[in-house]
Amino acid sequence: MKKKMSSVPFNGTPEQEAKLDAYIAEHRAEEGCLMPIMQEAQLIYGYLPKEVQIHIAEKLEIPAEEVFGVATFYSMFNLSPKGKYQISVCLGTACYVKGSREVLDKICEILDIQPGECTEDGMFSIEACRCVGACGLAPVMMVNGSDVYGRLKASEVEAIIEKYKEFEREEKEYENMG
């Protein structure tokens, strides 16, 4: 379980910091509050930049190593930013025996990145995950943890990715109009 700290420059906003501080103030007295605070921080920033981890350590008056240790132990803490659309393909047993590996390979091929990486434009990142609990619909993939696609075939993923690219194009058009 090796993880890389991000080299992307950190650009958090004061609003984000205020939100996190409010959460810390509310929960700091609870036993075992470190993980919930880190989970909240990840929700606020989208990932856990080193600066934020140090900030949490300072606020809780604990060694920064303790926060780093927790961050690197759990696979759900992201130390570098993810794509705007985070694709995760389930490689749990039920999905694996139904060919989810091929689905993953296909997506990597289409986006030209490897699992764990993000496309250069910051749009898509891809990772393998273990079982989202929709095994009955195997093979399964998820986008941004909420859009679940089941009974997938490798031949169908191109259309799904296209759909998100289409969203993007529409969003851009609106921006240009507005």
């Binding site: 379980m1 036993e31 075992g32 509050c33 470190l34 993980m35 919930p36 989970q39 303790e66 240790g69 927790v70 132990f73 759990y74 696979s75 759900m76 803490f77 389930c90 490689l91 749990g92 047993t93 039920a94 999905c95 694996y96 025996v97 139904k98 995950c129 273990r130 079982c131 989202v132 609990g133 929709a134 095994c135 009955g136 619909l137 195997a138 399964v140 943890g145 909420s146 679940v148 696609y149 089941g150 009974r151």
Partner: protein
Amino acid sequence: MKTWAELQAIKADVNAKVFAASAPGEYRVLIGLATCGIAAGAMPVYDAFKEAAAGNDKCKVGQVGCIGMCQYEPIVEVIEGGKRTTYVKMDAEKAARVYKEHILGGQVVTDYLLVENGITCNSLEDTTFYKLQKRIALRNCGIIDPENIDEYIARDGYAALHKVITEMSSEDIVNVMLDSGLRGRGGAGFPTGRKWSFAAAQQAPQKFVCCNADEGDPGAFMDRSVLEGDPHAVLEAMTIAGKAIGATQGYIYVRAEYPVAVKRLNIAIKQAKEYGLLGDNIMGTDFCFDIGIRLGAGAFVCGEETALMTSIEGKRGEPRPRPPFPAVKGLFQSPTILNNVETYANVAQIILNGAAWFSAMGTEKSKGTKVFALGGKINNTGLVEVPMGTTLRTVVEQIGGGIPNGKKFKAAQTGGPSGGCIPAEHFDVEIDYDNLIAIGSMMGSGGLIVMDEDNCMVDIAKFFLDFTVDESCGKCTPCRIGTRRLYELLEKITGGEGEMADIDELQALAAHIKDNSLCGLGQTAPNPVLSTLRYFRHEYEAHIVDKKCPSHVCRSLLTFTIDPEKCVGCTKCARNCPANAISGTVKEPHVIDHDKCVQCSVCMQNCAFGAISKD
């Protein structure tokens, strides 16, 4: 706060208005909205019914958790009078038609009914899939609205809690659990009553009740379904456990991959508190018990009991040596019990119906029922709850509807990464804790993955080892280094580089890891290798000696060839081969250069004439 009399009134009211047979012409439409249903597209179906029925007071549209037939999701049940009609594989368009023809027109739309073995079933209850089940842990799943505490109360919810608070001592509760014979459903099968009695016997200022909802076995979703479909059942049971051992605080450790379950648990906790069934002075007595939710963060080892407690404490979730056992020194150094979601889902029913009722079901040493998540190569993927002692054959062939595409059953994998496989020769094994151990597998938490002739058992073993290598917390060397070495050996074998001596090394290494690892993860990690070696040694040998993968899975061992009789020389394969391994002139048979071929199988998918085969 609600008094017991008020709760009884709610129960009577909901039963009369919601669950009793409605008047003819009055409909209830229920849409399964668990993760599985939502993934299959149930939300637009729900919206379509909501929209169509707006303003129609003869048609109520509601949500339920999941009924367990993933294969047929999205599922809609239409209830009129005492009659249930189950529609399957629905979408918004079909919903509009059902609304028009069935709800408004009174005619069942037979096109969307479920067909099982060629027989059209009006309702789920008519299917073999359902009839052979015995639903205790899942009794409310798919029946009640999980976000409505009143519907839970109507189905005897919180009656068991009332009973233990008003009539039973801590000792009474523990004795009922002991007599029931209930064993933990999280994997190891430890008797629940014994665990509770140890913790009850401790003198301590603070004790804890924890629920393991980490559901780490990839391919299992029983616990998710219970949490999403019947969250109050878990809250009620934990509160009963609190009363039994003398604890005032509970924690549910849920994996973060289950957002819907977390949402419903939060709603349930809030509702239970409003009714005075959780929190301070429960049911107006001086008994206080609160429950908090803690989210996992994607570490399989945190399903192990000591690691789970370390994680709730907010630290790296590394296992701790035992003893001290959690019942003596667990969470925050206090006596703690930890039970699995499904274990808890049985508790209220046991209290209400008695230990004898429960222990009458199942086998001599495994009482009650077990929920299985059927997955893999099986027609009816889904959740099934059967009495202990049901044969694997019944589960796979009758309830599961057999293997798709006329393929042959090869093995069923139980126990996930800690378990093993059950080959066809043990198809008639009666499933219980001890029988599965005897044949080299284990009950596990209930994931049951079926494999057919197209699955390679060496590849499956490698798949699980890949998982454990990834999930080993690294605290002890036999597990950290040993599992990696096992994986490398399997990779060597599936890559065509294996030697017979590797099999001996696999076995020696497996024994070493089992004996020297600190926690259950390492101790059981070699099981998938050992059990596939026990029953499918010939597949290992085929990879090593013949350099062939009999199931055509392991890529490096495949040879692609073009049949010159069938090839018409259309050139499509040659144009698409990423390795430029195919040559030939137009209208002449093509050939593959095996030295260049990277076994991607693109050519085979592309040939419209079926001229390319792999071996």
